[in-house]
Symmetry: C2
Subunit: 598 residues, 2 copies
């Protein structure tokens, strides 16, 4: 079983020096935010994550959630941990103060969220889904709905779920069939089956508030005929307490590769007369509402990629320090050493570490931009940041989650044979990570969004602006007389050129040959992530160099950061030109076979 | 649950047209081999693999092997399948006719082995380990040992195991501590604990023959003090039947990420007075014998990488054909289509397919070279082939197994959310594949072997010869006036240059800065595998083109082969230059941190 120690120093560095915590703190509504407050929050969250959640991660995986006759029992210790989580106010961190939230900026909740997900991803899904449901109600709920549900959801007394998927409607939500029939009193009876509902049933709280996509009678076909409903597990009494059991029942939970402790429910609505729900917002606009919230959810899943990578790195590093095997390379008859001495173990650990740092840097920068996009008084600044966030969300989601599978797999490899033994715990990270490139939109869905809505639709305007920012950083790096910085400049230069080549191809091809553009979409997303990560690591190296020159201390941290940036430049960024080649040239071979030739 | 249909057409193509089945059939001792015989074997093996072994793959995974008080029960159906396997003569395929084997060449047993491993990897490990033990006894056993054990091992009546690893001795076998004390009558008493013993205990046969590494009293420290012993589970009666229980007991079996149906035993030798064994070969040369056999074992694990990739591909392809989701890209309001229509699903499937074909081509070519190295009458031809085989074994092992993890993971991705559900079976391939880059020497161990013993030690002589062969193929491809061949030539050209650059760096650096060379070793192995796969796919494309020109039929197959080669050139080979960059430039960043900075 592995420990988790929140990487607070790196989080502070990224928040303060890369993501602009000061600028976020200067936003309207963020007056209370200060470096001290942030440090206090990180420290408390780190204690909770490492002390309460992390110890339940492996036992929760082994025990799993259990279904029995419609009821779901969470793993041992889960309920106590959840109660403590809610009582400590962690559910309310980023929520609106009007409903009991603390209203802290996204940048801070991002760092805290990373900790929950590193410590115990299966646990973290419960508050994450609740946040999604809270946002849906905040966005389009009536005042009555808000008053009924939000205070108890923000406090963690109740949890929330998102009910989108049906057996025939996964990536294609146009195929949703669940029906909603108006009762006549403002409520609706919901009939249908939803699958893959995270924490769709559990024993942590005495009510669960389901947000459900369904079709009204005579709704148009396809995506424009889907409405959003709120359907509580227990209908509310007049005093707001849970009353009669609603007709939504958990038929089964899934037997999954990972996140065993997170119950993934099949929910049957209306098998006994209809589940009572109320409409959220206007009819037939449910999918539109979902899309507005989707950025948040996709960002959060991207954070899972980062968080699992951090956890897998810590786990592998600890093993590498403890495991004695072989002697130092090139030393005959020397003493046995720990495997951290072996060059390939080093390479693996540096690969895990540098990519994790790059993902954190990029994700937090996007988190801070979200705050700017929401809160900055200047319209132009808000718009610019929103465009950046919109562009980067599919990259954060797709790149960080795909990376996490590779990084967790590398973590298994560092353990050698022990990595394959479940008790070691390294394999759990790989099993848990494997869902992240799938849910909240597969990597292909992210890549479609990236090249279509986020790039081609605006002729590549925002990505061109981002590339210009990258070039400015490159110019600065190129001006430093130092071997490491020269290496960073060399790889970043070819990386940026590759990204630009790929982006130009996407813009030019999307309207002409959409299938060809789509063949390149996932390689392009990966290319974008790699180069964006290199950009942020180059920024980090420049800042580290400046701090070292100032002589303000923390030398070990800043020197390590430059090493990490250099490793990334030598081992990760060099993949960029090959990916650009594939983006530009890969369509013909991918599309040539007829279905019969497969 | 997925079906497995042996890819007999591609196997035939690779054996006949790439690996030189005719030349193998012309070798002394292979007089009976003919294309018809091979076809008959492939067909029978394919029936057995698809009809008997494949249906047990998923149920075996779910049920697993069970330990109870020292006894291990295999999963339901296992024993019947094993009996049928042995009765059908499959255990004896490649064995020496002197002991009941069929003495078929490696090229044929390679194809058959691929089928067992695709159909049911956990099952296939039992005959695979037995083959290893048979080879150890063939190699250095006394006539008495051979007569006692080999006929029943070849017939499958008994199985064999290899006992190397101990808790403190994994990659570093110099640390083996198991002791062997001479009794005085020619036997030894063995004391110690061995871990990770595949099929170290089971209920399939009435004896198990353990090959065990142990130290004699006063043996030198380190690798030169390790001897090899044969230790049967049941001592033999005078008539050769199993008699008294020997003092080797299964203390537990591991709870693993994958290959659940393959019992991985902890074996205690000598807890009750000593396990009786006899010495194999000379004292203190056990590790040397192991290394001689290791090529075979490593090749076999490389085949697991290929085999699991094939299985994952078939599984994902079937799902993609069956799963209806969304409409054709660029067609508004069109009918729902299967996901094979979506460009990124195409890309994923082609990536799985083209890499699997490339691995098969390379592995079978190495298999045929093994036959040439063993059987060709001309010393120079034998030596040349042996050098090629020695060079390529770590590539086949390292590259195919690392690929299989990625490919099985891509298979999960093709399934979307269903891929994460265990009942789908796609996740099992990923879980099973994850052991392959670890056992029989991790990828780092393969890469060390590759750059040290196989390249630097001889100044790169063999790899230079291989690169020259690649260049000859490139020249031929470059001469074809065709868009697909032009694309293949372009990527193969830069791939070969990258490989040469990497090889020159290894040769130049290994003696000067061994740690730097080792940092690049795994990226170099991957680079070598990618380019060697591209080389074989280019050969395949040239042959396919020739056959199409001849008009002899089989057009769909040959046209698909050219598409596959082209896809590989556009999507896989472009990774080569980036890997070469990392090989050459990656050391400084990887080695810069002190242990305290981690």
């Amino acid at each position: 079983m592995s420990q988790y120690i929140a990487p607070i120093r790196d989080m502070q560095f990224v928040m303060r020096e890369l993501a602009g915590l000061d600028a976020v703190a200067a936003l309207p509504g963020c007056e209370e935010v200060s470096a001290d407050l942030v440090d206090a929050i990180l420290e408390e969250a780190g204690k909770f994550a490492g002390g309460v959640l992390a110890p339940l991660n492996w036992s929760g995986d082994q025990e799993g959630a259990k279904w029995n006759n419609g009821e779901v029992t969470t793993a041992s210790g889960w309920k106590e941990a959840y109660n403590q989580f809610a009582e400590s106010g962690w559910t309310a961190l980023a929520c609106d103060p009007q409903y009991g939230g603390q209203g802290l900026p996204k940048l801070i909740s991002t760092a805290v969220m990373e900790m929950w997900k590193s410590a115990n991803m299966a646990f973290s899904l419960c508050p994450m889904l609740t946040t999604g449901a809270i946002e849906a109600l905040m966005l389009r709920g009536t005042d009555e709905q808000k008053d009924m549900y939000l205070p108890k959801m923000v406090s963690g007394e109740w949890t929330g779920t998102m009910n989108l998927t049906e057996p025939q409607a996964g990536s294609d939500l146009a195929a949703v069939r669940t029906r909603a029939e108006p009762v006549g009193d403002g409520t609706y009876r919901i009939f249908g089956q939803k699958i893959f509902i995270t924490y769709g049933e559990h024993d942590l709280t005495d009510n669960i508030i389901h947000l459900v996509l369904a079709r009204l009678p005579d709704a148009p076909e396809g995506v424009k005929g889907i409405s959003l409903f709120v359907v509580p597990k227990f209908l509310l009494n007049a005093d707001g307490t849970p009353g009669a059991r609603n007709d939504v029942h958990c038929v089964s939970i899934e037997h999954k590769l990972g996140i065993h402790a997170s119950p993934t429910a099949v929910l049957a609505f209306g098998d006994h007369g209809g589940a009572i729900g109320t409409l959220v917002g206007e009819p037939n606009r449910g999918l539109e509402y979902m899309f507005i919230m989707m950025n948040e959810a996709r960002f959060a899943v991207g954070m899972e990629g980062l968080a699992l990578s951090e956890r897998a790195y810590q786990h592998a590093l600890q093993y590498a320090k403890d495991r004695i095997q072989g002697t130092e390379l090139g030393v005959r008859g020397g003493p046995k050493v720990n495997i951290l001495h072996h060059p390939d173990v080093r390479r693996m650990l540096m690969s895990m570490r540098s990519q994790t740092e790059a993902m954190r840097a990029l994700a937090y920068v996007v988190g801070a931009a979200t705050d700017m996009a929401h809160l900055h008084p200047d319209d132009a600044v808000r718009a610019r940041n929103q465009a950046f966030v919109d562009l980067m969300i599919p990259v954060v989601k797709g790149w960080c989650t795909e990376n996490s599978v590779d990084i967790a797999s590398t973590g298994v490899q560092v353990h050698g044979g022990m990595g394959f033994i479940e008790e070691t715990g390294a394999a759990q990270h790989l099993r848990d990570a494997r869902i992240t490139p799938i849910y909240e939109g597969t990597t292909a869905i992210q890549a479609n969004d990236l090249i279509g809505r986020k790039i081609a639709r605006e002729g590549g305007a925002t990505i061109k602006a981002v590339i210009a920012e990258m070039r400015a950083v490159l110019a600065e790096v190129g001006g430093v007389q130092d071997e490491a910085f020269a290496a960073i400049a060399r790889s970043l230069d070819s990386g940026i050129k590759a990204l630009e080549e790929g982006a130009e191809y996407i813009v030019a091809t999307y309207g002409q040959d959409i299938k060809a553009a789509h063949v390149g979409s996932v390689p392009f997303l990966r290319l974008f992530g790699i180069v964006a990560g290199g950009w942020q690591m180059a920024r980090a190296a420049l800042i580290a160099r400046q701090r070292l020159g100032e002589g303000g201390g923390d030398e070990v941290f800043y020197r390590s950061k430059i090493v990490s940036a250099r490793f990334y430049a030598d081992h990760v960024l060099p993949q960029a030109p090959g990916l650009a080649y594939t983006v530009v040239n890969g369509a013909a071979g991918a599309l040539a076979l007829s279905e019969e030739q497969f």
